[in-house]
């Protein structure tokens, strides 16, 4: 069966959920092989095998931590050059997209970024992308070389297909460090107790209407009641009320959860670009003409400081 390379996104050996989604999608196209860069492959191998990685190619070298993006480019290009996969899948984040583009150029192969779905077509993978702030749906395919595709989080639900992977160490020849960006320091973001934005089934977001950093406690309480991640609009982030890592939208994180609850958010096009493909959308806004209501499956025209605490109280009452 055709081999599909999947670049593993991990934090110190803990495989992130989008990688499991990639492995699941890769199985529609062929037999997934994971490419793991870093020192903690042992702890990742089990998880990768559980989601169907028949092989794990391990690249463990100092360059992996010292240089930005280019070690992964060198690794994928050399592995693909030698094994001849039918496609290469990477996560759609800045590192993944930049790696994908450079690998594709070196392999003289077509690139598709930000796919939200992949199916097997007669002439290779067929992708679906969302365009123009998710108002359009585009299907595309690669016409030259080995299709290189980056996939957005939540494109598929991870499905286990356990195998015991064959682990293969790779000696990669790295390009000159002078043509690369050096990593001076690397600080992994603290993982809080709440789910990550890209991994959550439910996201509860607050905007300018939350009106202050301390008021975000209202949003957090709803999130914790629903087991959700917390998001924020750029207006709330720019005001310094919530960290940028929680920004949803064109220049923040693009999410596609089962449920997106927007409170005190007007629904500007750049915000919609990051949440419009959510399955169910709920809005709480005191302005009945707010554009967010055009997207909402359920909307409450009202003051979020009245509606949200009552929501939490009612859910807790129903549970007890």
């Amino acid at each position: 069966m055709a081999e599909i390379l999947v670049l593993v996104d991990h934090t110190e050996g803990v495989v992130r959920k989008p990688t499991l989604e990639l492995l699941t999608l890769a199985r529609r196209l062929g037999e997934p092989s994971a490419v793991f860069l870093g020192h903690d492959a042992d702890s990742a191998t089990e998880a990768l095998g559980r989601y169907g990685a028949h092989k794990v190619y391990v690249v463990d070298a100092p360059e992996v931590d010292e240089l930005l993006v280019t070690p992964a480019v060198d690794a994928l290009t050399q592995i693909a050059g030698s094994t001849g996969p039918a496609a290469i899948l990477l996560p759609s984040n800045p590192d993944g997209k930049e790696t994908a583009a450079r690998v594709a150029l070196r392999l003289e192969s077509g690139l598709i970024t930000d796919a939200v779905d992949i199916t097997a077509g007669e002439d290779g993978p067929v992708t679906e992308q969302s365009a123009f702030a998710a108002t359009y749906q585009v299907t595309a395919h690669v016409t030259r070389g080995i299709p290189v595709i980056t996939v957005k989080p939540n494109a598929a639900a991870p499905e286990p297909a356990p195998v015991t992977p064959e682990v293969e160490k790779w000696d990669v020849t790295f390009g000159p460090a002078s043509a690369a960006a050096k990593v001076l320091s690397h600080s992994p973001r603290e993982r809080g107790d709440r789910p990550e934005l890209t991994e959550a089934d439910i996201v509860v977001s607050g905007g300018r209407g939350v009106n202050g950093a301390e008021n975000f406690a209202v949003i957090e309480r709803v999130a914790d009641t629903l087991g959700a991640a917390v998001g924020a609009s750029r207006a709330a982030v720019d005001a310094g009320w919530y960290p940028h890592s929680h920004q949803v939208g064109q220049t923040g994180t693009q999410v596609s959860p089962q449920l997106y609850l927007a409170a005190g958010i007007s629904g500007a096009i750049q915000h919609r670009a990051g949440m419009q493909t959510s399955k169910t959308i709920v809005a709480v806004n005191k302005d009945q003409d707010a554009p967010i209501f055009e997207l909402a499956d359920y909307g409450v025209v009202g003051d979020l400081f009245q509606v949200l605490p009552q929501l939490v109280e009612e859910i807790e009452r129903r549970r007890s």
Partner: protein, 259 residues
């Protein structure tokens, strides 16, 4: 220091953007403007020049005739000159075609620093800066929030998906900056008048030694099969809070099994 800022002319994101039958961005039906995210790259170039570095700032765009407007807007913010690459055969280029044209034009001009936006607001791929670095054989210091240029290096903070990374590259280099790198200035009236007198050259593929077959739809390595408008989300239930808005919402969420 020679700084080249790459700026893209894009359809207004707040208008109703559409595709042509060939699956390209329809540039006829809505107004276009300088991609808002590229204003941050222009701003950083101007700040470098204002910090005392002896800098010559030039803007570069690849696009149809009216893409000149993006160059004029950038020149009105500041800077010295502009290059417009325009050729019918470029229409329908993929990321590789576009980056080839940009890279050749940058080499022709000469550069110490190439500045880009984090992504265009139409294609939104966020890959052209990395492709330019790959083609030019220089470091890619991309997705930067806080940029410093000193002693022949560029250093900056990159907010990744799961980590904050400080990165550095030696010049010459390609840098892309995010919308958190510092607010972009508005062109002043004086700036707008001055921009009209600044030199702007127009180049075509032949000037850059590129064959038509290497770019455009014919030279693309991927193809769009269909582009269809997503059906509008069906109108949901909107209720006005009469004191029971929260309980009503709880009932909805429970019925949907979210709570």
């Amino acid at each position: 220091m020679k700084i080249v800022v790459c700026v893209k002319h894009v359809p207004d994101a707040t208008a109703d953007r559409t595709f042509t039958e060939e699956g390209s961005t329809d540039r006829e039906s809505v107004d276009s403007l300088l991609s808002e995210l590229d204003e941050y790259a222009v701003e950083q170039a101007l700040r470098i020049a204002e910090s005392g570095v002896d800098a010559e700032i030039s803007y570069l765009t690849v696009g149809p005739d009216d893409a000149k407007d993006a160059l004029r807007k950038a020149l009105a913010m500041g800077g010295d000159s502009a290059t417009h690459v325009s050729d019918e055969d470029i229409e329908g280029s993929d990321a590789f075609g576009t980056s080839l044209v940009l890279a050749r034009a940058i080499e022709r001009h000469g550069f110490d620093l190439v500045l880009c936006g984090m992504a265009s607001t139409d294609g939104t791929m966020g890959v052209v800066p990395a492709l330019l670095a790959e083609r030019l054989g220089v470091p890619a210091v991309t997705h930067i929030e806080e940029l410093t240029v000193e002693d022949g290096t560029v250093t900056g903070r990159r907010e990744g998906d799961s980590a904050t990374v400080r990165v550095q590259g030696s010049l010459p280099a390609v840098v892309s900056v995010t919308d958190r790198s510092g607010d972009a200035r508005y062109p002043s009236f004086k700036g707008i008048m001055a921009a009209k007198k600044k030199p702007m050259e127009t180049l075509d593929l032949a000037d850059l030694g590129i064959d038509a077959g290497q770019v455009g739809r014919a030279g693309a390595w991927s193809a769009v099969d269909t582009a269809t408008r997503r059906p509008p989300r069906s109108k949901g239930e909107i209720v006005t809070d009469d004191g029971t808005g929260g309980t009503g919402l709880a009932a909805f969420l429970t019925a949907k099994k979210f709570a």
